[in-house]
Amino acid sequence: MEIRGYQVPDDLMYTKEHEWAREEGEVIRVGITDYAAKTLNDVVYVSAPKVNVTIEQSKPMGAVESIKAVSEVYAPFSGKVLETNHDLDSHPELINKSPYMEGWLIMVAPSNLPAERKSLLDAKAYAAFLETLLQK
């Protein structure tokens, strides 16, 4: 769906810190939302956790930076990092161009998926959350 000009795909899970997570079989793909990317304006640098690093749900796992600002990225799920998106090394602007596809950040092997899934928002809930943010 689209809410006030921001894309919110129906099939993803979201955090209130504007990360998204997509279940792809046994693994989770993670990125930042269209709203996060547009608020940053022009992403110029991405610092993501390295492969084999263990991340913990809701803890900082990296940062996405624009010319003007730094935005910390929080892990939507606990687990081990399987892969990082090397295209972002030379083309960080992919996060602006395609936040949900080419601009993904990492792939994670989740360690506590069923329990942690409950603390994430579905598209409808995230859209409602964005709406409250934008009304302020």
């Binding site: 304006n41 022009d42 640098y45 610092s47 940062a63 930076e65 624009s66 010319i67 003007k68 730094v70």
Partner: protein, 374 residues
């Protein structure tokens, strides 16, 4: 709770429909229209326009004007010819930097003083507290507007709208002229490192914004509107300090690498005793640039050398020209030699980098000194 309503400039009607807005120094200003990176590159490669109407503008006129300004700044004022614009500093009694500013000398005893928006009130208080009887210091910020046109294409963009031969107006010179039918003051100045102009439009109150709005829209046909994001990345890439971040009341002109504004032998200005005393000794720290191999340095990050901490970042960003993280920082004098290797710790990782003397770009390719034809 009571919340102060931000002020707006005469061009707010354009910004509110074209830009993402931000509050800066009490004004609601454009942060970016498209992206900071695109606006930044437009200024380096063609031309961009900035609404800088929020900056403080004070008119100082009368027989005592020259002597008064002479007592405020470390740069010789009387020696400047009419039609000259110059960058200088307001110092406190301890020689610390209250503000950096441009003074435009319109006539032997007529000046326009342009100061940072965030310091405008403090600067005015300071001027009124030190002004002689019978001298008019008038805040004309609200009754005038100011547009900066910057970049290698600035001259072509602005020339279409004025009869003044801009090619004859040398850098740091100013002249009054008609621009798009408005009475204005044009100076060949700016804060991006590029060639360009700052146009002060007279008689442009918020009740009568039509004239300056028409000028802005005509300029926007050939120049890219730029927000405060690009204004900050451009000044940083040129190595220019931002008051409040890179210079403040506790920094003196020597450590800020701004001693060049002090006219040799000048005395009798506020702070001159301290300036004279500090001129004789090496500063303990000095403002430098640094370029990182990876990562983006930001305000407050610690700079380390072989033997531990050597300084601190005062402002940092990503340079769209270098495609690297760059910063202005203060380094211990001993470790400040350009070319020295340093490190900056970013989120727990030490990123290596090199000390430089800005600007960060190659002056052969970018900035007002660039070789034509590039």
């Amino acid at each position: 709770m009571f919340k102060a309503v931000p002020k707006t400039t005469q061009l707010f009607g354009y910004h509110s429909t074209h830009a993402t807005l931000t509050e800066f120094a009490g004004y609601e200003m454009p942060l970016w229209y498209t992206t900071t990176a695109a606006e930044h590159m437009a200024v380096r490669n063609t031309s961009g326009i900035f609404d800088v109407s929020h900056m403080g503008r004070f008119s100082v006129e009368g027989p005592k004007a020259t002597g008064f300004l002479e007592s405020l700044v470390p740069t010789a004022v009387k020696a400047q010819p009419p039609g000259k614009a110059f960058y200088t500093l307001l110092l406190n009694t301890k020689g610390g930097i209250m503000d950096d500013l441009i003074i435009e000398k319109l006539g032997e005893d007529a000046y326009m003083v342009v100061v940072n928006a965030a310091n405008a009130k403090a600067d005015m208080d300071h001027m009124l507290a030190n002004s002689p009887k019978g001298l008019d210091v008038v805040d004309v910020t609200d009754s005038t507007a100011m547009i900066a046109v910057q970049g290698p294409g600035a001259i072509a963009s602005l020339q279409r709208l004025t009869d003044l031969d801009l090619g004859q107006l040398k850098r740091f010179r100013c002249a009054e002229a008609r621009v798009a039918g408005e009475n204005a003051l044009i100076s060949r100045t700016g804060y991006t490192g590029e060639d360009g102009f700052e146009v002060t439009v007279y008689d442009a109150t918020s009740e009568h914004p039509d004239g300056v709005m028409k000028l802005w829209e005509k300029l926007a046909e050939t120049s890219t509107p730029c927000g405060l994001g690009a204004r900050d990345s451009l000044r940083l890439e040129a190595g220019f300090p931002l008051h409040g971040a890179d210079i403040n009341q506790a920094t003196n002109p020597f450590e800020a690498d701004l001693a060049w504004v002090i006219t040799a032998g000048k005395r009798g200005f506020i702070g001159s005793e301290v300036i004279e005393a500090s001129a004789a000794q090496l500063p303990s720290r000095v403002r430098r640039g640094l370029v990182l191999d990876s990562g983006i340095p930001r305000h407050g990050f610690e700079v380390t050398g072989d033997a531990g901490a050597v300084g601190v970042v005062t402002s940092g960003t990503f340079s769209p020209i270098l495609r690297r993280g760059i910063a202005l920082c203060y380094l211990a004098y001993a470790g400040s030699e350009p070319g020295s290797t340093i490190g900056v710790t970013i989120r727990g990782v030490n990123q290596s980098g090199t000390v430089t003397k800005p600007p960060f770009y190659e002056e052969r390719l970018y900035g007002w000194k660039r070789q034509k034809g590039n």
